[in-house]
Symmetry: C2
Subunit: 199 residues, 2 copies
Amino acid sequence: MPGKRASEAERREQILRGAFEVAARDGIGSLTIRAVAAEAQVSHALVLFHFQRKERLVHALLDWLIESTSVLHVSEDVARFPRALDRLHALLQQEMERLSHQPRHTRLFFDYWALGARHEEIRVRMSAELQRYRAAFRAIMEELLLAEPAAFAGVTAEALAAVAVSWIHGCAVQAMIDPAQFDTDEYLAAMRGIVGQLA
Amino acid sequence: MPGKRASEAERREQILRGAFEVAARDGIGSLTIRAVAAEAQVSHALVLFHFQRKERLVHALLDWLIESTSVLHVSEDVARFPRALDRLHALLQQEMERLSHQPRHTRLFFDYWALGARHEEIRVRMSAELQRYRAAFRAIMEELLLAEPAAFAGVTAEALAAVAVSWIHGCAVQAMIDPAQFDTDEYLAAMRGIVGQLA
DNA sequence: TCCTATATTGTACGAATGGTCAACAAGCAT
DNA sequence: ATGCTTGTTGACCATTCGTACAATATAGGA
């Protein structure tokens, strides 16, 4: 006895939200066609009707996660600082706050991170996202290198951007694994101190 | 028709090696009692005889991984540098090389990392390991703060150590996810440049 | 040598999972 | 109304997994 109908786009979104709830709560390892169906309040056969195979659902959830997560973008608050060092500092702070305010998204990203180590389709998606992430920092780092060409001989803006990405992700990981010992404010102060030394 | 006997310690080690092979190859999500038994060439019932439940096997594998991974220690090559900045640089380089030379251990650590986000028993083990890791850097960072008390006002050695840990782990992650775009040598050069600026 | 403790195995069972399929209902064109 | 496309469902299947258990072989002590 089938239930009410809905457009394909609406159903896919409904199911993906259910998939996110399940994966964010119990991890991708516990993501099951039936668990997603129960969360979305549809039959498990309908999930397969819209996504064919579980693998495609997992991939679609990653795309949904990347899109729905407020991606890194240099906001107006950041861009209005005239000095590159101030923009770098503001961008680091903005991203740290974003990650700590979206703990479910962040944890789920870590799941896909580990998954990407062994599944190429996921790895290429994560790789593309990493490159977009680094690109936002690279512009600032290029200005820094122009200001201090001698001190940073042999250092590329791309590598400095990668270091900045490590700051953000490393903070998220340590805050997640070690919340009692890890102090986010102290960490931000340390980054500020290092950034200040770069001038 | 039972096979040959072995001491409990030998069998546990044999099974744990099998568990490592399976988990390192296919991920913890694919670690099953039967797969481990096949890898260790014993019956799957014997695995349960020695580890009672799968959960205990997973925990024992984490302990085995932490012990068998050459843990961070300030080697003599690092310790003989008189200047703290040189020791920091040498320690960063040593750890980066260690991670890149043990890719299987590193990837498996990431699995436990993600797992630790949702399972407390695993999280406390990872947390203890993170604290040991930071402690090795904190000693160096304390010297740095003594040398430059004015420039690093309000910055703690613990937080600087956390930043150093982020450098290492962030490098490992980006090298794993994005091997084509990520240049380890450039990354090391960037860290060297930043460390040089701290003087 | 016999006996007991224990290491080891094959079998089995219940639960969960991914996936298929026939049946059926809801909307839409004719 | 009638038929057609398609969204939706419950039932079903083969597989795998974790775990329990009875049977058996081995080693070592009495």
